[in-house]
C-alpha cells in the first residue's frame, strides 16, 4: 500500500448517536440568551465622538485657564503674594537703600568693562519683562 487514493472512506471516526441534533440544540440554547455583538466599527465611532467632546471640553478649560492667567498679569494684584505692586514698592523697595545696593553690587557684577549693551536694549528688555520703566526711573 503506497497510494492514499487506495484508502476508502474519508470519515473513519464515530460520533455519539444523534450528536448533530444534540449539538445544534445546545448551541442554539447557548446563544439564545447571549446578545450578538454589534459591529465594532460603529461602537468605536460612537466612542470617538465622546472622546472628541471630552477633548474639546478639556481644551476649552485649558485655554480659559491660560487666558485668565495671561490677563491677570496685567492686573496690579499679584497671584503669588496677594499684594499689589504699589504695596510691594512701599513695603519693600522703600525700605532698602538702592544706592548702597549698587555700590556693594558693583565689584561683583562689573568686575571688568561694561558689556556693550545700549540703553535702548535694556529698556526693551525691561519692557519685555513687563517691568514699568518709569517706576524704576522714579525710584532711582
Amino acid at each position: 500500500m503506497g497510494r492514499i487514493d487506495d484508502i476508502a472512506g474519508k470519515r473513519p471516526f464515530r460520533v455519539p448517536a444523534n450528536y448533530f441534533d444534540d449539538v445544534t440544540r445546545r448551541i442554539l440554547s447557548a446563544t439564545a440568551d447571549k446578545e450578538a455583538v454589534p459591529p465594532l466599527r460603529k461602537k468605536s465611532f460612537r466612542i470617538n465622538h465622546f472622546l472628541a467632546a471630552a477633548a474639546a471640553i478639556a481644551l476649552l478649560a485649558v485655554l480659559s485657564y491660560v487666558t485668565v492667567k495671561m490677563f491677570s498679569r496685567e492686573e496690579t494684584r499679584s497671584f503669588v503674594t496677594g499684594i499689589t505692586i504699589e504695596e510691594f514698592s512701599e513695603t519693600y523697595l522703600n525700605e532698602i537703600d538702592i544706592l548702597s545696593l549698587e555700590e556693594s553690587a558693583e565689584p561683583l557684577l562689573f568686575t571688568g568693562e561694561l558689556p556693550d549693551v545700549s540703553k535702548a536694549d535694556i529698556i526693551d528688555y525691561l519692557t519685555l519683562d513687563n517691568i514699568d520703566v518709569s517706576e524704576i526711573y522714579e525710584l532711582l
Binding site: 464515530r14 442554539l28 455583538v37
Partner: protein, 181 residues
C-alpha cells in the same frame, strides 16, 4: 459544501432575521465544521468543545460577518483557529500523545469506540498526524473537504502557490510513510 447561491440566501436571511439566519447556519454547517475540527484534534470531546466555541464565536461576531462575502471561509477560519488552540492546550497538558493517537484509537477500548476505520485508516491517520500542523491542515482541507486553493488561501492566510506546494509535499510524505509501514 454550500454552493455560493445557498450562502447568498443564508446571508440575506441573516440580514433580515438574524436569529432565523443563525439557526440555519448552525444546521447547515455544524456537521462539516465538526469533521474539519475532528480531523485536526482527533478526540471527540475536544472536537465537541471546539465546535461549540466556533459557533458561539460566530454568533458573537455575526454582525461583523454580515459585511463579509464568504460565510464558508469565515466559519472555517474560526474552526481552524479553535482547533489549533485545542492542540496548543494539549501540548501544554498532554494526556495522549498526538503522534500515537492512531495507535490509541485502534488499540484501546475507549479509542476504538470512536474509531470506525480499518488498519489502512489507522495507518493513514498516523501518517497524517506526523505532518507539521499547517501541512496537516492543508492536506485535510484539500483531501477531505475538497476545498479550493483559493478558499484555502483565505482560511489559512497563505498564498495559493505555497498551499499547492505544501499539499504536494504532504502527499509525498504520507505515501512514503504508507509504503514503509
Amino acid at each position: 459544501m454550500n454552493s455560493p447561491e445557498q450562502d447568498k440566501e443564508l446571508l440575506q436571511l441573516l440580514r433580515n432575521d438574524i436569529n432565523k439566519g443563525f439557526r440555519l447556519v448552525v444546521e447547515q454547517y455544524s456537521s462539516r465544521l465538526y469533521w474539519h475540527i475532528r480531523r485536526m484534534v482527533i478526540l471527540h470531546e475536544d472536537a465537541d468543545d471546539a465546535l461549540q466555541n466556533t459557533l458561539i464565536n460566530a454568533w458573537k461576531n455575526i454582525y461583523e460577518f454580515r459585511n463579509k462575502s464568504s460565510l464558508y471561509t469565515w466559519l472555517y477560519t474560526i474552526a481552524t483557529n479553535e482547533s489549533l488552540s485545542i492542540l496548543k492546550k494539549r501540548k501544554r497538558n498532554e494526556s495522549v500523545s498526538v503522534d500515537e493517537i492512531g495507535g490509541y484509537l485502534a488499540s484501546s477500548v475507549e479509542g476504538a469506540a470512536w474509531f470506525d476505520g480499518d488498519e489502512a485508516q489507522v495507518k493513514l491517520q498516523n501518517a497524517i498526524l506526523r505532518l507539521p500542523e499547517k501541512q496537516r491542515l492543508v492536506f485535510n482541507l484539500k483531501y477531505f473537504d475538497e476545498m479550493t486553493y483559493e478558499d484555502m488561501s483565505r482560511v489559512l492566510k497563505t498564498s495559493e502557490g505555497a498551499l499547492k506546494a505544501s499539499y504536494h509535499l504532504a502527499v509525498k510524505k504520507i505515501e512514503k510513510f504508507l509504503g514503509e509501514n
